[in-house]
C-alpha cells in the first residue's frame, strides 16, 4: 500500500465521519469496560486510569518541557495521604478535598522544583529521584502528628465507602456485585476527562506555548523573553498538583493508603508508562497507564520451565521484564505505542491539511490512484482478515500458553477494522460509478463491503450480547 | 573538475557535500592545498568555512572525495585521520580548559609512539616562550592569545603533514593577531608544513598565504594566487574593505 486507503481533506464531511468513528470506538470501550469486566478487573482498570493521570503529570514535565522528573510517586503519595486524612479524620467529602490537594501539590512542586530548575542540566532528575526515595520514610515520623495522620507503617484506611447515590441507582452497572468499583470507575473517567481538557487547553495557552518552546530550544525561548526558571517551575508545580490529584483518585479508588505504595518503584512505573505510551503525547499517557498495569499483570503469569530452573514472572523478574521493555522501547520505538499506532493509522488514512483559503493544500483528487487502484483489493483483504483472525484467535485462546494467548487476544481485535473496509469499498464503488475504476474492482469491492458489514454487525451484536448477559 | 594547479598536492577535495540534518551547508566544493604551501579560504559568516574543515576531518555527514597526499580519507574516522597527519585547530581554540598547559601539549602527542615528545615540547616552548612560563597553569586560565598559541602548539605536537586552522584571529586583539600570523609564516617557512587557514580577516590571511579561495553559500566562487585575490575588485569590496 503506497498510498493510504482513504485520503480526506481536514474538516471535510468524510474526515468528520472518521473522527466520529474514533470517538464511537472510545465511547464503546469506556462504556463496555465496567459492564463486561469482573469486579477485580474493574479494580485493575481503575488503577490503570489513576496511573494514567500520574503519567500525564510526568509527561507534562518530561514530554512537554524536556526536564527529567523521576519522583512523581511522592506527589501521588502526598495527594493520597492528604485525602485519606481529610476524609477519614475531618469527615470531608472527596470533592471538597480536591482544591486542597491541588494547592498542596502545587506548593510542594514549587518547593522542590525551584532550586533544581534555576540551573540547567540534570539537576531536576537528581532532586526528584531523592524525593521519591525519601517520601516513604517521612510517612512514618511519629512527631508533629504525622504518623497519626498517615497511619505510619500500618497505612491508613478510609472507612467511608464510595457508592452510587440513590438517584443514580437506575444506571446499569452501578448496582449489584460490581457496583462499587464500577461507580468509582465512572467517577475516575469523568475526572480524567476534565483533567485532559484542562491540560490540553493549558498547553495551547500562552504559558503552555512557552513550556513547549523551552523543550524545543531553551536558549531560543530565553531570547524571546521566556523567563526560564519561572515557566519551568510553574509547569513542574502544575504537574505536581496533577500528580497529587492522581493520589486523591488512588485513595478514592482503594480506600486505603500506605507509604509502601508510593516508593521509587512506583515512580519508575510511571516513567515506564510514559515511554510505553509515548513521550510528549496526551494519548500516550492514557495508553501508558493501561499498558503498565496490563504488562504487569501479564508477566505475573509467565512461568517457563528451563530444566532445573523455572523462569518465573511472578517473582522479582517482573521488574526485569519492565527494565527490558524500557530499554527495548528506548532503542526501537522511542515514540512509544502511540507512534506505532500512528504508523498503522497512516497506512489507513491520510488527512490533508487546509490552506488559509480553506482549500486542501493539495487537491484530494491528486491522491486518487485512478485506474491502477489497489484499494479495493486491500479493503477485501482487510475484510477477510477480520473474521479469519477472529476464528484463529478463538481457537488459539484454547491453547494453554500465555504468549499464544496474548497474541490470540490481540488477533481478534482486527475485526474492529471491519467498518474501514466497508468505507473504502463504498468509496471505490462510487469511483467506479464515475468511471474512474476498471470493472475488475467491482468484485473485490463488493466482497469487502459485504464481509465488512457482517463484521461490523458481529461486533455490535457481540457487544450487545455481553451487555445483556451481564444484566 | 579540479585542474592540478600545484606541482605537489597536499590535500585535494572533490565535490564535497556536507549537511547538518536537513540543511545542506556545502554544495560540491572542489579545491586543492599545495604541499608545503599556505592556502586560505575566505568567506563571510555562515558561508561554510568551518564546515569545510570539519568535513575534511569527517566530523559531519559528508559525501564527495577527500585525498590527503595519495590516500583517500573520505571515509576514515576522525581519530584515524589525525593519525594520518592532519592537525585541526578548531574554532574557539578547543583547548582542554581543565588540563594544564603541559598536559594539553602531551595530549597533542597522543597518537605518537616515539620517544621524542619531550624534545618537541621544548621546541614549542622555545617558539612560544609564554607557554613555557605557564606550563603548570590550567589552560582555562590562559589569555585568549596564549590559548591560541597553545592550541596551535598542541596541534603541532602530533607532527602533522597538514595543519587546519579555523579562524585563529577570532576574539583576539589586533596586535596579537599580527604576531600570531607572523609566527604562522615563520613556521611554514622553517618547517615546510602545509597549512590551510580559514579566515574572515582577509588582509592578514592573504598577506601570508600563497593561494586562496573564496567561499560563498557553500560553493567556491573565486580562486587564485594570493596576489590575484588581493587585486580582485570583488574581493577588495567584499573582504578587504577597500
Amino acid at each position: 500500500m503506497s498510498t493510504p486507503l482513504v485520503v480526506v481533506a481536514k474538516d471535510s464531511a468524510e474526515h468528520k465521519k472518521w473522527k466520529y468513528a474514533q470517538w464511537l470506538y472510545l465511547a464503546g470501550f469506556l462504556l463496555l469496560t465496567p459492564l463486561v469486566l469482573e469486579p477485580f478487573e474493574i479494580g485493575k482498570m481503575n488503577r490503570a486510569l489513576v496511573l494514567s493521570v500520574a503519567i500525564l503529570a510526568v509527561n507534562l514535565v518530561v514530554g512537554f518541557n524536556g526536564m527529567l522528573a523521576l519522583g512523581h510517586s511522592a506527589f501521588m503519595g502526598i495527594g493520597a495521604f492528604v485525602t485519606a486524612s481529610m476524609v477519614q479524620d475531618e469527615n470531608w467529602d472527596y470533592w471538597q478535598v480536591i482544591p486542597i490537594v491541588l494547592i498542596v501539590g502545587f506548593i510542594m512542586g514549587v518547593i522542590i522544583g525551584l532550586p533544581a530548575l534555576r540551573v540547567k542540566g540534570l539537576y531536576l532528575a537528581l532532586v526528584t529521584i531523592a524525593q521519591a526515595a525519601v517520601f516513604p520514610t517521612l510517612v512514618n515520623i511519629d512527631e508533629l502528628g504525622i504518623a497519626a495522620r498517615t497511619g505510619g507503617p500500618n497505612g491508613k484506611g478510609v472507612s467511608e465507602e464510595v457508592i452510587a447515590p440513590d438517584f443514580l441507582q437506575w444506571l446499569p452497572g452501578v448496582t449489584g456485585a460490581r457496583g462499587g468499583s464500577a461507580y468509582r470507575y465512572w467517577i475516575i473517567v469523568v475526572m480524567i476527562g476534565i483533567t485532559l481538557m484542562l491540560v490540553t487547553n493549558y498547553l495551547r495557552s500562552r504559558p503552555g506555548r512557552a513550556v513547549l518552546a523551552i523543550r524545543d530550544n531553551e536558549a531560543g525561548a530565553a531570547v524571546y523573553g521566556v523567563n526560564l526558571p519561572v515557566v519551568k517551575t510553574m509547569n513542574f508545580a502544575i504537574s505536581a498538583s496533577i500528580g497529587s490529584l492522581a493520589g486523591l483518585m488512588w485513595c478514592l479508588d482503594k480506600g486505603f493508603v500506605a507509604g509502601q505504595d508510593f516508593t521509587f518503584l512506583l515512580a519508575i512505573d510511571l516513567i515506564i508508562g510514559l515511554v510505553l505510551g509515548g513521550v510528549g503525547t496526551i494519548q500516550g499517557s492514557i495508553v501508558g497507564g493501561l499498558f503498565v498495569v496490563w504488562v504487569n499483570d501479564l508477566t505475573k503469569r509467565i512461568s517457563i520451565p528451563l530444566g532445573l530452573y523455572t523462569l518465573n514472572g511472578d517473582g522479582p523478574l517482573a521488574k526485569a521484564i519492565f527494565g527490558l521493555i524500557l530499554i527495548l522501547f528506548t532503542f526501537f520505538a522511542p515514540g512509544g505505542i502511540v507512534s506505532l499506532a500512528r504508523m498503522v493509522q497512516a497506512k489507513l488514512i491520510r488527512v490533508v491539511p487546509l490552506a488559509p483559503s480553506g482549500e486542501p493544500i493539495q487537491p484530494i483528487e491528486s491522491f486518487d490512484p485512478g485506474m491502477e487502484s489497489t484499494r479495493a483489493d486491500a479493503a477485501m483483504k482487510l475484510s477477510i482478515a477480520g473474521p479469519v483472525c477472529l476464528a484463529i484467535g478463538w481457537l488459539a485462546m484454547n491453547i494453554n500458553s500465555l504468549i499464544v494467548g496474548v497474541f490470540a487476544f490481540g488477533f481478534r481485535m482486527i475485526i474492529l477494522f471491519a467498518p474501514v473496509a466497508v468505507l473504502v469499498a463504498t468509496n471505490e464503488l462510487k469511483a467506479h460509478a464515475e468511471g474512474k475504476r476498471p470493472d475488475s474492482i467491482k468484485g473485490p469491492a463488493n466482497t469487502a463491503r459485504l464481509l465488512g458489514l457482517l463484521g461490523t454487525a458481529f461486533v455490535i451484536v457481540y457487544a450487545a450480547q455481553r451487555f445483556i448477559l451481564n444484566y | 573538475m579540479v585542474d592540478d594547479v600545484f606541482d605537489e598536492v597536499g590535500l585535494k577535495v572533490e565535490d564535497l557535500h556536507a549537511s547538518y540534518g536537513a540543511v545542506e551547508v556545502l554544495r560540491g566544493l572542489n579545491f586543492e592545498v599545495a604541499a608545503k604551501g599556505v592556502s586560505v579560504i575566505l568567506g563571510a559568516n555562515g558561508a561554510g568555512k568551518t564546515t569545510t574543515l570539519r568535513a575534511i576531518c569527517n566530523m559531519c555527514s559528508t559525501s564527495g572525495k577527500v585525498t590527503l597526499g595519495e590516500e583517500d580519507i573520505t571515509r576514515t574516522g576522525t581519530a584515524e585521520i589525525v593519525r594520518r597527519g592532519v592537525a585541526h585547530v578548531p574554532q574557539g581554540r578547543g583547548t582542554f580548559p581543565e588540563l594544564s598547559t603541559m598536559d594539553n601539549l602531551m595530549i597533542g602527542a597522543y597518537t605518537r609512539k616515539d620517544g621524542e615528545v619531550r624534545d618537541d615540547v621544548e621546541r614549542w616552548f622555545e617558539i612560544f616562550p609564554r607557554l613555557a612560563e605557564r606550563q603548570d597553569q590550567l589552560a582555562g586560565s590562559l589569555s585568549g592569545g596564549e590559548q591560541q598559541m597553545l592550541a596551535v602548539a598542541r596541534a603541532l605536537m602530533c607532527r602533522p603533514r597538514l595543519l587546519l586552522l579555523d579562524e585563529p584571529s577570532l576574539g583576539l586583539a589586533p596586535l596579537i593577531i599580527e604576531d600570531l600570523f607572523e609566527r604562522f609564516g615563520t613556521l611554514n617557512k622553517e618547517t615546510g608544513l602545509t597549512m590551510l587557514i580559514v579566515e574572515q580577516n582577509a588582509n592578514l590571511a592573504l598577506e601570508m598565504a600563497d593561494y586562496g579561495y573564496v567561499i560563498e553559500s557553500g560553493e567556491i566562487t573565486l580562486s587564485g594566487s594570493a596576489d590575484q585575490l588581493r587585486n580582485d575588485p570583488a574581493v577588495q569590496e567584499a573582504y578587504l574593505g577597500a
Binding site: 518530561v62 527529567l68 523521576l70 532550586p115 533544581a116 534555576r118 540551573v119 540534570l122 539537576y123 532528575a125 532532586v127 529521584i129 531523592a130 526515595a133 525519601v134 520514610t137 517521612l138 512514618n140 515520623i141 511519629d142 512527631e143 536558549a219 519508575i268 516513567i271 515511554v275 513521550v279 518465573n312 517473582g315 522479582p316 523478574l317 517482573a318 521488574k319 526485569a320 519492565f322 527494565g323 527490558l324 524500557l326 530499554i327 528506548t330 532503542f331 | 576531518c57 566530523m59 581519530a79 584515524e80 589525525v82 578548531p90 583547548t95 582542554f96 580548559p97 581543565e98 588540563l99 598536559d103 602531551m106 595530549i107 597533542g108 597522543y110 597518537t111 598542541r154 596541534a155 605536537m157
Partner: protein, 316 residues
C-alpha cells in the same frame, strides 16, 4: 538537652567511615558524569552486583577474599565497558532522556536478576577488616582501638586505608598514564579530544570501567555495616552518594569524595548525635535519608555547582 560529648567521637568515626563509602560511590557517579554529563542511576546496582560476585567467589567458591575482590572489580569493569559500548554509545549524550531511561532500565534488570538468583535475604559476607591482624602490636585480634574514649573500629580504619590507596591508584592512573590523560581530555572537551586522535568511545568505556570498579569496592566495604549483601543494599546509599556528589560538585572528582564524607558526617553527627542524643528526638533517625534530600535542595539553592565544582558555561 543532653550534650553528651563523650559519645560524639563514636558518631564522628561512624560518619567518617560511612562517608568514605558514599564518597567512593559518588566518585563512581562523577567519573561518568564528568565525561558524559550523564547521571548513571544504575551505579548502585552495578556495585551491588560486584558485591555479590565477591560473595559467590569468596563465600561459595572459597577464593581468598582479596583475590575475589580483585576479580569482581575486574568483572564489573568489564560489565561497565560492555554497557557503555552496547547501551549508551548509540545515543547522543546531549539528549538526556534516552540515556537516563537506559540506566533506569538497567537498574530494574540488575536488581531483579540479583533478586531472582539470591533472593532478597541478607547474606553474610566476610568482613575484610573484622579484627586487627595479629602482627599489630597489642591490638592483634581486637575489633577496635580506644581513641578519645571511644571505640575506633578496625573496620573504619580499614575502609579509610583501602579507599585512600584506591584513590592514590586512581590519581596515578588519571595523571600519569596515557589512557588517564586521554580520559581527562575527553571529560574536558570531547570534540578536541577527537581532534588529537583520541578514540572517544574507547576512552569513555575506560571511564565506565574505572567507575564500576570503584562502585564495587564501595559496595564490598559497606556490606559488613549492613550485615551482609542483599539486592537492595545500595538503594539508600545511592541517594547519599548523589547528595555527596551534588555537595562536592558533580564535575569534581576530589569534590565527590569530600562531599560523600561530609554527607556521612552530617548524617551521623548533625542528625543522629544532634537529634537523637542531644535533643532526644527519636524521629530524627528517620530523617537521615531526608537529610540527604535536603542537602541536595540546599546545595542547589545556594551553590548549584557544589563546593568544588566549576560552573559550566553554556555555549549557544
Amino acid at each position: 538537652m543532653n550534650w553528651n560529648f563523650d559519645v560524639l567521637p563514636d558518631f564522628i568515626f561512624n560518619g567518617l567511615s560511612l562517608g568514605a563509602i558514599y564518597g567512593a560511590v559518588a566518585l563512581s557517579l562523577v567519573l561518568i558524569f564528568k565525561a558524559t554529563t550523564l547521571i548513571n542511576f544504575a551505579t548502585g546496582e552495578l556495585a551491588m552486583l560486584g558485591a555479590f560476585l565477591v560473595y559467590v567467589l569468596h563465600m561459595e567458591q572459597g577464593i581468598w577474599l582479596w583475590l575475589s575482590m580483585a576479580i569482581a572489580m575486574g568483572l564489573s569493569a568489564g560489565l561497565g565497558v560492555l554497557i557503555e559500548r552496547t547501551l549508551t554509545r548509540p545515543f547522543d549524550p546531549e539528549d538526556h532522556l534516552p540515556v537516563v531511561l537506559i540506566t533506569l532500565g538497567l537498574f530494574l534488570i540488575i536488581n531483579a536478576v540479583a533478586g531472582d538468583i539470591w533472593n532478597y535475604q541478607v547474606r553474610i559476607l566476610t568482613n575484610p577488616f573484622g579484627k586487627f591482624p595479629d602482627w599489630v602490636p597489642s591490638l592483634g585480634g581486637d575489633r577496635y582501638v580506644e581513641v578519645l574514649g571511644s571505640r575506633l573500629k578496625y573496620q573504619s580504619i580499614g575502609i579509610w586505608l583501602t579507599l585512600a590507596l584506591a584513590l592514590f591508584a586512581l590519581s596515578l592512573i588519571l595523571n600519569k598514564t596515557k589512557a588517564g590523560l586521554a580520559f581527562r581530555a575527553v571529560s574536558s572537551n570531547v570534540e578536541s579530544a577527537r581532534l588529537v586522535g583520541v578514540h572517544t568511545g574507547r576512552t569513555l568505556g575506560f571511564g565506565w570501567a574505572i567507575a564500576s570498579a570503584f562502585g564495587t569496592l564501595g559496595a564490598v566495604l559497606v556490606a559488613p555495616q549492613l550485615g551482609g549483601v542483599n539486592p537492595n543494599m545500595m538503594a539508600t546509599i545511592l541517594i547519599y552518594a548523589l547528595a555527596g556528589a551534588a555537595l562536592g560538585g558533580l564535575d569534581s572528582q576530589g569534590g565527590a569524595v569530600l562531599g560523600g564524607i561530609l554527607v556521612g558526617l552530617i548524617q551521623a553527627v548533625l542528625v543522629t548525635w544532634g537529634g537523637v542524643v542531644v535533643f532526644g528526638q527519636l524521629y530524627m533517625s528517620i530523617l537521615q535519608l531526608a537529610a540527604a534530600f535536603l542537602i541536595i535542595l540546599i546545595v542547589l539553592l545556594f551553590r548549584p555547582a557544589g563546593l568544588f565544582g566549576t560552573r559550566r558555561v553554556e555555549r549557544v
